[in-house]
């Protein structure tokens, strides 16, 4: 393996006719990290995953997995990568046992014991046809199959979509367990922001094919704040509108009691200066959850490009 990146894409562009699905996207996922790629439906997440997994050729740019080109070395790479797709795509007529029998000879390091243990833990009947399993069971059995070859990289494409809370909890526990045991690199796309917030090291936010955010979750949360304040006309200040310039606001809403903004360039000293600005009263700053942050950056009211550093 070359370098320290489990995944790397540069100036990746994917088009479908005139529609641009990915627009010169570049990102890097360090080895051993958990990277959460967020984005609304149609933002280009699945296209990025397909390109990363060597299932689709990009129009421009290139993608690497574990130091090798994902298109050219796909066959070799897939022996080291576990994949759980957005839609459970295993042949519906095959039982989980048949799926295992199909996969086992393909991987040099297949761990049938751990697979059996996981299926047992999930309560999935090995002889039931895959198509007859519940949505949660399908997701969990695909996760079990993906983990069986002890992959160096786990790619999860919105894996908890449609899962009930119990299945979702079991899913994340298994992922977290794998991380704790083997420090497997995880790349996942998801809408389940609450679920991944405790485990994600780094976050990317895609909007309309462009990567607005790509940084560690901690620094992201540190620089984003919700600021609430009221305006008061004084002798020296009769007009408002530029008082948030220093914060690089991504969302501003005017309420009856004053203004509410989500800013992407927060720090305490700057806020202290803002709080004492003439005409600004009752200013307070509060941290954002990942969901709030996502909504502020990728939601309808977002007005900036995410202010990535």
């Amino acid at each position: 393996m070359r370098g320290t990146a489990a995944m790397k894409v540069e100036t990746l562009t994917v088009r479908y006719g005139k529609k641009v699905a990915l627009d010169r996207v570049g990102l890097e996922v360090p080895l051993g990290s958990v990277y959460a790629l967020l984005g609304r439906n149609g933002s280009g997440k699945s296209s990025l995953v397909r390109v990363l997994l060597g299932q689709q050729a990009p129009c421009e740019g290139h993608a690497e997995l574990l130091g090798e080109p994902s298109w050219g070395a796909r066959t070799r790479l897939m022996a080291r990568v576990g994949v759980v797709p957005e839609d459970p795509d295993a042949p519906p007529a095959m039982t989980v046992r048949a799926l295992e029998a199909f996969c086992r000879p393909l991987y040099p390091s297949w761990d049938g014991t751990s697979l059996a243990a996981r299926l047992d833990r999930f309560g999935i009947p090995a002889d039931a046809p895959f198509g007859g399993l519940s949505k949660g069971q399908k997701g969990l059995s695909l996760l079990a199959l993906a983990l069986a070859p002890s992959p160096e990289l786990l790619v999860l494409d919105d894996p908890t979509l449609g899962l009930d809370p119990v299945a979702r909890k079991a899913f994340y526990e298994e992922v977290i367990g794998e991380l704790a045991d083997r420090r497997t690199t995880v790349f996942l796309t998801t809408h389940d922001l609450a679920g991944i917030e405790p485990i994600a090291d780094r976050v990317g936010i895609l909007k309309e094919g462009r990567l607005l955010v790509d940084e560690p979750l901690e620094s992201l949360k540190a620089r984003f704040r919700r600021i609430r304040y009221a305006n008061e006309i004084t002798e020296e200040r009769t007009e408002f509108g530029n008082e948030l310039d220093a914060f690089d606001a991504v969302q501003v809403k005017v309420r009856g009691w004053g203004s509410e903004a989500v800013v992407s360039n927060y720090d305490d000293a700057r806020f202290e200066t803002f709080r004492t600005t003439d005409g600004v009263v009752d200013a307070e700053a509060s941290p954002l959850s990942l969901e709030d942050l996502f909504l502020a950056v990728a939601g309808e009211g977002a007005r900036t490009k995410g202010g990535s550093r």
Binding site: A57, M78, P91, L106
Partner: protein, 641 residues
């Protein structure tokens, strides 16, 4: 290889239900003889017929269904990612699915056909063909594979909903056009075997291209339906269209032979003039292809003729004009156009006349008038005379029944023709067609105890005499107008010991072999014996033409006529006036051997001294021209040949 078999096994297992169709078909076939109404027939035959229908249905149906669902549905429903998320090479995925899917089709077909061998009958007899079972089976499996791969390609193409479909249509049109061009080149040139080879190569290329294109569809398109369709189409049509156009190139090369490429030559010449028709196998062509070329023996200029219609060639008596029919299309039912070459004008190209024969298969013969200005056409039981320059119809008449091939036509004058119509079995009739009155008048007939084929009739150049020479009838000299027998010159001879030739002045030379010695008897135009000339020892002989007035070329061989190479022997010239025999050379033969039966013109033989009477050939196809004065053969080249 491991992942290929893993995929193949999975594909096979996933389609097990196809086998039920085969089992059901087999059970129905077994039970068919017990169906009320069928019980009285031979049970083996009933089973064979039911299997033929159901077995074919299962084979074709499963090939189409499994082929169409091999990749198309998985691609459009985005289920192929399951395979591409595993360490399975694209090649392993394609060939594995192909092997598994087609394997189940073959097994289901075998089950459906199983009642035939179990029945005690063979597959071949059940399908009522004479082809060897292995060939039949191979073709059947290849056809199934073709359907299977085609179904996959069509399924992927239609499910991609992409504009590559237009590319497919363009590829299809281009291939169709190329095949049509190849057919248009080869079929009229009588290259049916070459065209069949082209068609076979194209079919197997299509089969291979579908397999290769399928692997490219998987390797380059992977999970993207449009990209998969693009890869499939690009590869498929690149192979198929380039092969199809290569086939056009091959077709063009096959027919672009020159006279020097012709082997195993046969010759025909006009009664006068310098043009020779060569026909022979074209060298370096596979499969075997025969061509014809009308060659100017002085300049080497040549015109290629299709062997399919070169038999229609007719020369004017002065050799200044040549005409033949050429097909307008590839169908043997299509029209023919009469082509004309003004042979005496240097550098002129053949030109299409306005004379068109409606259906190629109806044409029986063309005959140019002595000056080449008129053309008699016998087609569709009608004799029509046209003006060559304008194509105008001068006169036409329905020929009397029954009609038979082997007629002879002779222009008596610009406004009158003689028609010699052999009627099987015992009577031939002679008619005169008057172009002024447009009437066909019977002028006489020839009766015999045995059938008279038109090929036995030889007309004197003036038309006043007919030499009828047949092993079963003998050698008769007949009046050219009434057909009345003037003299019997030789009795029936089944052993080939008697041969005859009519001379330019209507006299007749009859050769007889008697105890290894050849004697030439000369008869006047009234059938009276004029002289007898001993030629020498021989076991077989042939009589050629007059190398000059009264000097007849004869080939004498020390071998029996049926022995190989007997026709290449000692060539002598017999001076009929002096009774002398002059040796010309050994191991030679007249290039224009015998009567040119396939050119049924009004002429019995070449004009004395003309090219055709003096042209000799050796066994290795070298040509020599006999000097009429010195009687020595000199090497002869056909212009640049």
């Amino acid at each position: 290889m491991n992942s290929t078999w893993t995929v193949a096994a999975r594909e096979f297992a996933a389609r097990k239900s196809v086998l039920y169709a085969g089992i059901l078909a087999a059970l129905l076939a077994f039970g068919a003889p017990f169906v009320p109404g069928a019980s009285r027939a031979n049970p083996a035959e009933v089973r064979a017929i039911v299997v033929l229908f159901l077995g074919t249905s299962v084979a074709v149906g499963s090939a189409l269904l499994v082929g169409a669902s091999l990749f198309g549905p998985d691609l459009s429903e985005k289920r192929l990612a399951w395979y591409f998320s595993r360490p399975i090479a694209p090649g392993a995925l394609w060939w594995g699915k192909l092997a598994g899917g087609f394997g189940i089709v073959l097994l289901a077909s075998a089950i459906a056909w199983s009642p035939v061998p179990l029945n005690g009958t063979s597959l071949v007899s059940a399908t009522a063909t004479g082809a060897p079972a292995l060939v039949l089976l191979t073709l059947f499996v290849a056809s199934l594979l073709g359907l299977f791969l085609l179904a996959n390609a069509v399924s992927v193409a239609f499910r991609s909903h992409s504009l590559w479909l237009l590319f497919d249509v363009a590829g299809l049109v281009a291939t169709g056009l190329a095949i049509w061009f190849a057919a248009r080149i080869l079929v009229p040139a009588d290259g049916l075997a070459a065209f069949a080879t082209v068609a076979g190569v194209l079919v197997f290329t299509l089969l291979g291209a579908l397999a290769v294109a399928g692997s490219q569809q998987v390797a380059r398109g992977r999970t993207d339906p449009k990209a998969a369709h693009a890869a499939l189409s690009r590869t498929l049509w690149a192979i198929v269209v380039s092969t199809a156009f290569a086939a056009v190139g091959y077709a063009g090369w096959v027919v672009s032979y020159s006279p020097t490429d012709l082997r195993q030559l046969s010759f025909a010449v006009g009664p006068a003039g310098k043009w020779i028709l060569l026909s022979g196998r074209v060298a370096r062509r596979y499969p075997e292809f025969w061509g014809s070329a009308l060659v100017d023996s002085e300049s080497g200029r040549f015109v290629r003729l299709s062997t399919r219609t070169s038999w229609t060639l007719t020369f004017s008596r002065d050799g200044r004009r040549v005409a033949w029919a050429e097909p307008d299309g590839i169908s043997s039912y299509g029209p023919l156009t009469v082509m004309v070459l003004d042979a005496a004008s240097p550098g002129t190209a053949p030109w299409p006349s306005r004379i068109v024969i409606g259906k190629a298969k109806d044409l029986e013969m063309l005959t140019l008038s002595p000056d080449g200005s008129r053309l008699a056409v016998v087609a569709a039981k009608t004799l029509a005379v046209h003006d060559v320059a304008t194509g105008a119809l001068i006169g036409a008449v329905r020929l009397p029944e029954p009609t038979d091939r082997g007629r002879r036509i002779r222009f008596e004058s610009p406004t009158s023709l003689f028609l010699y119509q052999p009627f099987a079995p015992t009577e031939s009739s002679l008619y005169r067609f008057d172009l002024v009155s447009k009437k066909l008048e019977k002028t006489g007939s020839v009766r015999s105890d045995n059938a008279i084929s038109g090929s036995f009739l030889r007309l004197s150049p003036a038309g006043d005499r007919i030499l009828l020479a047949s092993h079963s009838i003998g050698t008769w000299l007949l009046d050219g107008t009434t057909g009345g027998r003037i003299a019997s010159l030789a009795p029936p001879d089944e052993s080939g010991l008697v041969r005859s030739q009519i001379l330019g002045d209507s006299r007749v030379a009859v050769g007889r072999l008697d105890e290894g010695s050849l004697t030439l008897q000369l008869f006047t135009r009234d059938g009276a014996r004029e002289s007898s000339i001993p030629v020498g020892a021989a076991k077989s002989f042939r009589i050629g033409g007059e190398v000059s007035d009264g000097r007849l070329l004869v080939v004498t061989s020390s071998r029996e006529s049926q022995q190989e190479g007997a026709q290449y022997a000692r060539v002598v010239v017999v001076d009929l006036a002096k009774g002398t025999v002059t040796r010309v050379g050994d191991d030679l033969a007249p290039a224009v051997m015998g009567f040119p039966m396939w050119i049924p013109s009004d002429l019995a033989w070449c004009t004395p001294g003309s090219l055709g009477t003096r042209l000799l050939r050796s066994q290795d196809d070298k040509l020599f021209l006999l000097d009429p004065v010195t009687l020595r053969p000199a090497p002869f080249s056909l212009g640049g040949r």
